[in-house]
Amino acid sequence: MLVAASCESLEVDKLRPSYPVVTAVLEAGSTESEIAFFSLPDEQSGKRAISDAHLRLRDKQGGVKDAVFENGSYRVHGLPIVSGHAYELEIEYNGKDYSAQCEVPPALVLVNLTSSTAHIDPNTMGAPIITVTWNELPTERYSYVLLLEHLDEEPQVIPFTQTSGGQFAALYQSPILNNTITLFDTDFNYYGPHRLSIFAIERGLEHLYFYDSSDLRGLLQTAPGNVIGAHGYFTGVSRVAVDLLIQP
């Protein structure tokens, strides 16, 4: 009996199923889309690309293209991503079907820009300098995320004396619902050309922004997803960008 008791025929790891993961963000106006398809489990923070799957991207209002595996991920060439269109991703792999759907948000249009050029005094305590407004989308379905990039290859740091700059990244990590934003001088870190990109996203994607992976008591939750049969998120965005020049 003790011999029988010592037999461990089943190991924990052997019983774990393997799950594929899909990540893809379709951007309106693009004719090339990248789709990552890989499997877990693997090493922590690692992933194993699946190269022998059959992926197909379908525009529900017409048009379908197969994806090809290039440089570790799948790419769809020649299928334009159009604002307001719905897309379906179909995957056949290892005898199983996976699918996901998304609708690319309506097009974003710049409505008002108070100024495309602004001067920043390094001794400032923080003052509004530029207001950007774009067309309003239904807030029950869409929200906005912002990206501020400096375009100078050798940027010149603003020597703030009273406060610190570069506060934009901390302030706008999460999506917003208002269709207007006022930029303060302290949002910037550098002089020179900048680009402010405004993305309209499906509100379902907000879960990924608000996902907190390291709660104090280890309250881990599996990440949200919208792929049937697999993990990951398949979504579409529309974008409008405005170039700004920051001067001393």
């Binding site: 089943l10 799950y19 922590q44 990590q173 990924l208 309250l219 881990l220 599996t222």
Partner: protein, 883 residues
Amino acid sequence: MRGLRYILLWLLVAGACALKAQVYSGDYQAKSLAFVLEDFTKRYSLSFAYDSQALQAYQGSWYFEQITFEEVMELLLTPFDLQWKRVGDTYVIYPHEEELALPASASPGRPFVLYGEVRDRKTNELLPFATLLSNDGNLHSTTNEHGKFALHSAMLHDTIHIFYVGYEPQIFVPDTTRSYTVIHLLQRHASLPTITVESQRVLLVSSGMDASEQVINPNKITGIIGSGEADIYRAVQLLPGVNGTMENNNGLFVRGSNSDQTLITFDGFTLYQQDHFFGAFSAVNSTAVKNMRLHKGATNARFGGRVAGVLEIVGNEGASNKARAQVDIGPLALAALIETPLDRDGKASAVIAGRRSFTNTVFSPTYRSLFNTVYNAAINVNPDKDLKTFGGEGDPEFYFQDLNVKLTYRASHRDAVNLSFFASKDKLYMQYADTGSFEVINLRDVNYTDESVKRNVGAGMRWTHQWRDHLESLVSVGFSRFTGDFFSVDTILEIGFQDKEVLFYAENAILNDLDARAEVAYLRDKHRVLGGVQYNGLSTFNKLNYLGTSIPIREQEGGILSFYLQEEWNPHSKWNLRPGLRINRYDINAAWYAEPRLAVGYQLVPYRLRLKATTGMVHQYIHRLREHSLYFNTPDYWQFSGNDALPVLRSLQYTLGVIVNVKSWSMDVEGFLKRNTGLFINKGIYGRSDAERYRAELYTGNGTTYGLDALVQYNRKDHHAWVGYSLTYSYNAFDTETGRRRIREPYVRQHEAKVYHQWQPGRWSFSWMWVIGSGKAYTPFLGIYDYPLPNGIVRKLPVFGDLNSALLRPYHRMDVSAAYHFNFRMTYGKLQFSVFNVYNHENVRDIQYVAVRTTTANNEYRVVERKVNMLPFLPSINLQLQF
């Protein structure tokens, strides 16, 4: 056949002649009667059964020469008002029975019913759930929870056999000139001296004559002390169909159902605090329990409200002839029992049983091991190392206690009133620190303070009255209040900024349960009709305070009004039928629910082979959505069903089984099928610490569970052994975001086997048990992937497998126990040594996951898996003294 009869007759006559021919001599001066009988056993190879403790007290001097056995017995026993009876090859010595002067009820033309009661010969205590069987094995009756029985006329033409777990079987011939009979049974006592009781079948587990019903006496199972305290649930978990592998989760998981689907009643009120020590053992003091009856499923119209079954616990009524006391000392707690008659007539008795742990003052090795195991499973500290809770800056303060009080008054044999009270409490106060030594970068030091209190107070009153010979009634009222209070303070010091933050969190949960019942039983000829009305009023109250924000109180009230009617009918000597109907009115959704029930028994071969079958429907209206958790600092959380998020659970059940008895062997095999609608399972595998916890994060669905339970028992002389096996297939499908999917329940083990053996040679008793079960389902962690969001943020996202999609390794463990029984003057004692998990097998209860930050960036972390183990090798020693 006829030849065999002649041979038997010849043997009997020859035996009688041989006995007659034997003469006996003896010279005993100032000796006890027990000494004389022991000496007789040695000299003449006779076999006696008697209460050695009582007979030690009878002292005398005897001298006799060349006299017969009958003359010896008269000489020895008459002065002490004792008598003897031969059962098999054993001479049973017992006190002289008092004749009850009751009017005769048998009159021509009137169906006769013989009422009576079964009592313990030593303590005069009534014995619930005893089985009475006609000589041909076809007809049966059972004593109720008050130890009373009723035999209709069809059973009165023959001798009646009485079986009771842990007692010598008895045979009696019904006396139809008396309408009330008192039957005394002799307890199978391990302190019997060297004399061997030769009875063939002293049962420890009795399979009821009805399907899915088993009676077990926890105080006769010597192997239930394993984790330091005698545990009545551990005795029940030895039965097939009851999960025996969920160590640290002490509810009863019956036939693939969750533990909140099993109703546990104690003298008429519902128990909600089912465990002490966060699941290590049951909250009910075993010394306060007389007997237990388990109904697996919907079989009896008297019961409803839980789909998995009912465990009826009957409290000890106490001796009605003389006062008795008992003390139990274990490595964790001290328990005491006092039982006493309250009057000279034996009409009133009282029992007080209390238990208090000394774990807040004495840290025994058993306690340290148990605490470390339980608490390490409950905290978020270094996932790679166990926390040493003792010997640090502050030792934990933990204690548990419980109290049982029961008063019984019997004005006559027609009346019985019980008042029963129960209170239990667990309290933990603990501080520990996480100084970040296990993280790659020590970002912050956290000091945790946890305090949790869990209480259950219950009280019940039951009054039974026999109005006429054919009519009796029961009125009972029970109330139970369960409270859980959790409070935690986390003081966080951010190393980089020397910034201190204090987080506190408090949660209170209360559940009230009022149960009132009135029922009438009418017995006539071959029919026993039972009808009743029951009201079960429930209310829940939850309050949460998180970071200073008080979440609105959540309070719910609901009630179930039930009417039930049931008939026990013997249409033929071989057939038993029990049709029943229970109708419930649930006031939360103002709906009616009908629950038809039917139990059928057929005696294929008298005594040897009995077939049984049941079908029935049952509904459940309140559910425990979440179990108490030290890890998440949360109490049990109960919620009413009957709404869109949580439908009323309905279970349609079928069983088919057979009972086979061959000499010392008995086998009970039963197949079952349950079709459930309105099941639920928690969506997330992890809790939440904010107001979102009250949002019902559930999947609901339907399922089918089927399988079989088999119990093979061997009971002979001093050996009691059984093998239980359960096979369970459970297919539960839930409506998820991605469609209807099959999800495993974490408490279902496909295969589970239990082996138990108890051997009682003389003053010793030894037992061992072995349990093995298939792996438990859990949710695996698969890995982390990066998701580049449109605004340049890369989010690290963990991926867990489907809910409960992986299996842990099989569970198994062996417990052993040895006890020595002794008498010292008027004191009976038992010294017991037991070892839980004797070969120290690592049984994993669950897998926990902890996020460990690897850099100062918020989104840089790794997920560490942490095995939560069940109890390791755990020796303990217990001493019991009875006065």
